[in-house]
């Protein structure tokens, strides 16, 4: 924490600027060890947005650090740690919880439409778990790549498995719950999706969508 703060304090115009910079650090969860390189991708992004704004407002004219330099200070030049969230799915309320979590996780990285696409895709997979397998887990992961933000999702259950994957992906299937579009539609909302399932072995669906870094 001190390394980042030490770098910022000298360029701040006055006590207000320094206080603002300190305030930004307080927005981070206290559990985080905010030394360079220790923050995850969401924390880096939020801290950068705050620092960039307060730098513009409070720093001595001409001395505000460019975002690139700020990022190096925060991450020590390394890629930010990925952010992983895991949810157990048992009820329809859990489906809403993962919908919300997906929106919260993606909102400052993806476009509005992409956020809705991803939350909908996650919702479809979570609902499949609660309807067909009774229980399972959904894992959301956000990471940074040199040119892209990368959102990955994984839905795992130990349910009855899927017997007719070919039929489902040919579009000829109509389920009793949705419109038979759950899996095939989810694939359309993602860049890539893989289904691993067999009768009695449960189901594992993983998918990914990327967005250019802005």
């Amino acid at each position: 924490m001190s390394a980042i703060l030490d770098a910022i304090t000298p360029i701040m115009n006055d006590s207000i600027g320094v206080t603002a910079a300190r305030g930004v650090f307080r927005t981070l969860p206290t559990s985080v060890n905010a030394s360079p390189g220790a923050l995850d991708v969401v924390e880096v992004r939020e801290l950068l947005m705050h620092l960039e704004t307060s730098g513009r407002i409070f720093s001595t004219p001409g001395r505000a650090l460019p975002v690139k330099r700020l990022r190096e200070l925060i991450t020590a030049g390394l890629p930010a740690r990925e952010k992983v969230e895991r949810f157990g799915i048992r009820t329809d309320i859990d489906v809403l919880t993962v919908q919300r979590a997906t929106q919260a996780l993606t909102k400052s990285f993806f476009s509005v439409t992409d956020c809705v696409r991803l939350a909908t895709a996650v919702s479809e997979l979570a609902r499949n778990i609660y309807m067909y397998a009774k229980s399972g887990t959904v894992t959301l992961k956000l990471s940074e790549e040199p040119t892209h933000w990368c959102f990955e999702l994984e839905a795992v259950d130990q349910g009855p498995g899927i017997t007719n994957l070919d039929v489902i992906f040919s579009g000829g299937y109509r389920s009793r719950t949705g419109l038979g579009r759950g899996l095939i539609g989810t694939r359309a909302l993602l860049d890539d999706m893989q289904v691993d399932s067999a009768p009695g072995r449960g189901t594992r669906v993983s998918g990914v969508r990327r967005a250019g870094r802005r």
Partner: protein
């Protein structure tokens, strides 16, 4: 399952020959079914209702299940001789539904409440 206060309340308003329903911002499966039940019950009891307006402007996520429930509710309304119109869908939701391949062609839609009422041929007559 426990029913929360939110879950057991669906805002329904009568406006002339129309019933106006505000779909909550988040729909769990049981809430969606509850919405369908509430609307069906109201339509079967009400006298002289010709139109049902479903306002989905608060809904930020519509997946295939929620879309199915909305479509079914429109079909149920038709059984009672009531024409249903969906109004106020968010652009991102519309794009997602099309990509998802959900077919809502059998449901009448309108961009604004005014256009929805036009489609239902409901006139708001001022008394002045």
């Amino acid at each position: 399952m426990q029913r929360t206060a939110v879950e057991s309340f669906i805002p329904l308003l009568r406006l002339g020959h129309c019933v106006f329903v505000s779909v909550p911002s988040e729909l769990s499966d049981s809430q969606a079914r509850f919405l369908q039940d509430t609307v069906s019950q109201r339509l079967s009891e009400a006298v002289g209702v010709r139109g049902l307006v479903m306002d989905v402007s608060a809904l930020s996520i519509v997946d295939s299940f929620a879309a199915k429930i909305l479509g079914e509710t429109a079909s149920i309304a038709r059984q009672f001789g009531v024409k249903a119109v969906l109004v106020g869908m968010r652009p991102a939701v519309a794009i997602t539904l099309v990509e998802l391949g959900v077919d809502l062609r059998h449901v009448e839609t309108a961009l604004t409440l005014e256009r929805a009422l036009e489609k239902l041929r409901v006139r708001i007559v001022s008394l002045e």
